[in-house]
Symmetry: C2
Amino acid sequence: MNSKPLIFITNDDGYKAKGIRKLIDILRPMGKIVVVAPHVEMSSKSHSITVGKPLSLKTITIEQDYEEYTIEGTPVDCVKMGFDNVLKRRPDFLFAGINMGANTSINTIYSGTMAAVMEGCAEHVPSVGFSLCDNDKDADLTDCLPFVETIAKDVIKNGLDDGVCLNVNFPLGQIKGIKVGHQAEGFWTEEFDKTEMQDGHSIFWLGGEYHCTDKDPNADWNAVNDGYVAIVPMQVDFTAWKFLDKTKKRFENI
Amino acid sequence: MNSKPLIFITNDDGYKAKGIRKLIDILRPMGKIVVVAPHVEMSSKSHSITVGKPLSLKTITIEQDYEEYTIEGTPVDCVKMGFDNVLKRRPDFLFAGINMGANTSINTIYSGTMAAVMEGCAEHVPSVGFSLCDNDKDADLTDCLPFVETIAKDVIKNGLDDGVCLNVNFPLGQIKGIKVGHQAEGFWTEEFDKTEMQDGHSIFWLGGEYHCTDKDPNADWNAVNDGYVAIVPMQVDFTAWKFLDKTKKRFENI
């Protein structure tokens, strides 16, 4: 009997990315590992899934207590393929990342890494996403690795409440501690870059600038900018519960 | 002075789809209309955005109080391009759909239509998504059109609370009335279809079956299956607020 926990790992930066390699190194002593990750980078793919065209599963490594596969799909495709075709069951835990780039505030909704975590959560698997607030593919992960290990060990030992997953973001540089808070309110002003082509038409490149409108120091964006690890408990539910009664009164007899 | 409200319209089925053409017909008398929709179908694209490759804007129609454009991008790309490059400002209202296919329960998170609505909501624009629980591209919209008109008129007259958008799903067939409730709890079992190729490798097609685990008759999936229009007030916030204190106690001094 293998009593080790079955740990599923994925990301959105692709299976070769530095972040997932470090995450695998940390988690490997903690259980039986199955990795299904995108073959190439799938950042900003959010919760998109591949419908109407097929996916191929490529085996990278099969060893004792360690299997690694890739697909030419999105992070959520990886979770679905992993649970349904590789494992044939739900794993005991899902970890995603370590993403290079912040998944705080509204950026959570664009993130493929956090979409994979949400998908695990929806399938009732305790799921955690890790991200570093640095877009450099070769960013230094030294300061955040001890926190990844501690948080992962705690989750594997104590689990998470059903329907709740964790979004963990690491600040740049030395870490002051951990702050738990909510997803910060904020938005992007996009400011596309425009290129005029020789044939007269224009093409546009999405860029933009993020604006945080949240003053709470515990809100994730503020916490990481203040040097703290930001942890947000998250759920797969868009319902604006506070507005349910008001909406009911307004629209049910319209 | 043009005192008509500025109404932005998009979808994920593409600009030629029956649903958006009907939505445009209904909304056109209510204000100045700007449509930016995907050139081709972008279902299941969720909140994904096009980063690192350019977008082209194609003009379809420019008339008095009516402009229509397409891009080879996702629904959220359409919203960003519409607000920032076409309008140069936020519109007064955003409407998306009418989507062919249910966007109830967890399906909301995969939906490009509802992602566009969420993006509008994040930008503080009163936003509403309409979907019909029928995947047939030529589905009959007759029964739901009067409800689309009534709801749109009410939102244009009375607005929506800042940070709250509406997810409206229509049942098949005759409509009993409107129910306002929460996003139903449920999940998919995926059951990929497998094809063995001549060279020995397998390809997988995502299919699957949805399971609703929510017993509340007001939950959106249950409401539409009982013949009601389901309205859910939604917000762009994944925070599991009920678990914030517990998570704080557990992880801040780990």
